[in-house]
Amino acid sequence: MLLTIMTVLLQVTEGAASFSELGAAFAASFTAIGAAYGISRIGASAMEAIARQPEASGDIRSNMIVSAALIEGVSFFAVIVCALVLFV
């Protein structure tokens, strides 16, 4: 329903913004949601693990940072693709 309204609006305001820009903006925001969800799960399980075994907190912290950086890397791929759509 929301999407039909938006597509109708887009047709009316022809030339102001095109479908490709709408798609790129949506894709970037969904990527942000996906990355935030993934990294929040890592953070939550890391907190739990530290609570169970506080002396392993150094190890757990390094692994958490590595996993978060890897997931962020994937999300940056999507951001780069959206930026390419918008500006190239």
């Binding site: 940072i65 590595v66 950086a69 890897l70 962020e72 890397g73 940056f76 791929f77 951001v79 780069i80």
Partner: protein
């Protein structure tokens, strides 16, 4: 021969004494703005402002006070295959001040403002049509920033090595106190667990990668000359760093490594008649350094962009709702910028660590023995 620490110091001093901050007036060209230009000056083009601050440039822009632009010219090195357009010479070296901030042509070259070659040097023929790009080997802002960071690294690391050599077995002194824990960290947490017993051969590329990436990330955050060049936010630079990892991995790959790629331990129907698994492994060979490149580039570029956008918020608001709105937004904007800058310091360390860690893991996979 003694370690060249002092010589590097003198070299840095020598290089920087030669640099003159050139204002547009000194080179004999006054940036005169016509009334039409004056009106355009009033509008603050946020997109252009932000993009100019993170992209590469042919001179190092220091400040713009009203009409006058102060910048440090950098050498431009060009090789053209059409010498008839450029006074008969193929190889050109000159300072970027000859272009007068992109407003005039010089010897058949021009800084283009078209969409295709925006802000890059193009060749022009007699009528003024833009033909194409020559081979461009200029010392641009990113290159100058990388060279400066490398000089700082040489200075610091050689000093640390010299003190370490002098008091062998004693307590560390001076700059050694700063560098040695980092090197021990890379050896014990990154190299030894990932590579195994023969890690010493790979310490040189890992240490070089880590220190280069870390220092360039950090120096890119300080806005004052000679820091503040966006080196690692440039995809060419990160591509070269990823290529280092790629070449070291594949040159040092042993027979076991190549066997795992071309003849992995999978059911035969995945290998013959259509080599599915080898194809997958080969794409993995390319994507792993590619991901390294994009991760570092995107993280650094995003950080610099966000800081610049927060600062330019002040000017956007003052354009939109008058000067008082700009003043009101300033504390919020500056607070956000400081917060993001601190976050970016953390991200610099994390990205350098992750790049080095993943490179170490790839080196370890390349030289692993069959288990």
């Amino acid at each position: 021969m003694p370690l060249p620490g002092k010589w590097i110091y003198y070299l840095i001093l020598l290089v920087f004494c030669q640099i003159k901050i050139v204002s547009a007036q000194e080179v004999g060209y006054y940036e005169k703005h016509t009334p039409a230009d004056e009106h355009v000056e009033e509008e603050f083009d946020a997109g252009k402002f932000v993009i100019e601050h993170v992209l590469d440039a042919y001179d190092w822009h220091i400040a713009s006070l009203g009409d006058k632009h102060y910048s440090i010219p950098l050498p431009i090195i060009l090789y053209s295959s059409k010498p008839e357009l450029h006074n008969g010479k193929k190889f050109h070296v000159f300072m970027s001040s000859k272009f007068h901030h992109g407003h005039s042509d010089y010897k058949g070259f021009r800084i283009s403002h078209t969409e295709k070659h925006n802000n890059k040097i193009v060749e022009v023929d007699q009528q003024g049509n833009e033909l194409g790009r020559p081979v461009d080997l200029s010392l641009t802002k990113s290159v100058a920033g990388a060279i400066f960071a490398s000089l700082v690294l040489l200075l610091v690391l050689f000093a640390a090595a010299r003190t370490a050599k002098r008091n062998k077995g004693g307590a560390p002194k001076g700059i050694q106190n700063l560098i040695e824990p980092v090197i021990i960290f890379i050896r014990d947490e990154i190299a030894k667990p990932s590579i195994g017993p023969h890690y010493t051969k790979f310490m040189a590329p890992l240490l070089s990668l880590f220190f280069f990436i870390l220092l360039n990330n950090l120096l890119g955050l300080v806005p004052i000359f000679p820091f503040g060049a966006n080196v690692t936010g440039n995809i060419s630079v990160t591509m070269v760093l990823a290529l280092f990892t790629f070449f070291v991995t594949n040159v040092k790959g042993n027979a076991n490594y190549w066997k795992e790629i071309f003849n992995p331990d999978v059911p035969t129907w995945l290998k013959i008649p259509v080599p599915l698994m080898p194809f997958l492994e080969l794409t993995g060979l390319i994507t792993k350094p590619f991901v390294l490149m994009v991760r570092l580039f995107a993280n650094m570029l995003a950080g610099h962009l966000i800081i610049t956008v927060f600062i330019s918020l002040i000017f956007i608001f003052s354009n939109l709702m008058g000067a008082t709105a700009g003043f009101a937004v300033s504390p919020v904007s500056v607070a956000f910028s400081v917060f993001i800058m601190l976050l970016d310091v953390l991200v610099s360390f994390i990205q350098a660590y992750v790049f080095t860690l993943l490179s170490a893991i790839y080196f370890g996979m390349a030289t692993a023995e069959h288990h």
